[in-house]
Symmetry: C2
Subunit: 129 residues, 2 copies
DNA sequence: CCTTTTTTACGAATGCGTTCGTAATGTGTC
DNA sequence: GACACATTACGAACGCATTCGTAAAAAAGG
């Protein structure tokens, strides 16, 4: 099944699974559950079911040839994060990123490296206008 | 009913209502519906019901003395936005704001004023470390 | 004060996300 | 091949967000 439209927004539980896959790379259901289970207490079949749903939604892909089956994200982490940010922007910030950035920077301490990178991007954006 | 714990996270529909109230200030159900109705096609009683639920959740307050009743947000916009950002941060960015900021700045063009303000905040944060 | 309209309350239906029990299928071992 | 174990599929239940119909209460208009 090929897919013209991009996959839908992942739900909360789905994002948790995506995070594991982005972090660990291709994984089996068991491997994902080994991370999520202890942390959330969720059952193995629950993780399996979610991952199956995610395949039908186009959020994950899988290799059914091997046993156990191996799953991986259909979209890169950046892509998905961008969608999530855009969504929050539209829903709660009237589409203006500035306020969101300010809130994000205030909420938690960033590392100096991160701050430097943000500054570089800022230079970039200002130079272009 | 006073409230020790902060109100819970607003849902999507609830954020839409909060946005109207932040924008217009204290409003009646009808006034909120006049904004949301045309945009989303939602019915008047639906808006009412949601706003009633939001009162019980501690998201809104209301004056029942006047007719029609007047509602207003229990929390400032900044407060709520901060909660939403923190939530997204935890769920999808492993709690590190830098990546979120980068995504936010890439998604949409910011005004030069916004960029300047972000730069000021950046100076502030770097000076403090 | 009666009628009409607006406002408010209540109850219920629907849909979606999440969860897991149980069954079916596959794999490895003796 | 028979048994034990792991993997996968399926179906159903549960809770929550959202929706609206309908009815009760209040206000406005005559």
């Amino acid at each position: 099944m090929t897919r013209a439209t991009p996959p839908p927004m992942p739900t909360e539980a789905e994002v948790a699974i995506l995070e594991v896959l982005w972090d660990q790379g291709r994984s089996t259901v068991r491997q994902v559950h080994e991370v999520l289970g202890p942390r959330t207490g969720v059952g193995l079949t629950t993780v399996l079911k979610l991952m199956q749903i995610m395949v039908t939604k186009g959020l994950l892909e899988r290799d059914t040839e091997v046993r156990p089956q191996v799953f991986w994200p259909a979209q890169a982490q950046r892509q998905t994060q961008k969608r999530l940010v855009r969504d929050l922007l539209d829903k709660a910030f009237s589409g203006s990123p500035g306020e969101l950035v300010l809130q994000a920077l205030s909420v938690r301490r960033s590392t100096p490296e991160e701050l430097a990178e943000i500054r570089r991007l800022l230079d970039d954006l200002e130079a272009r206008s």
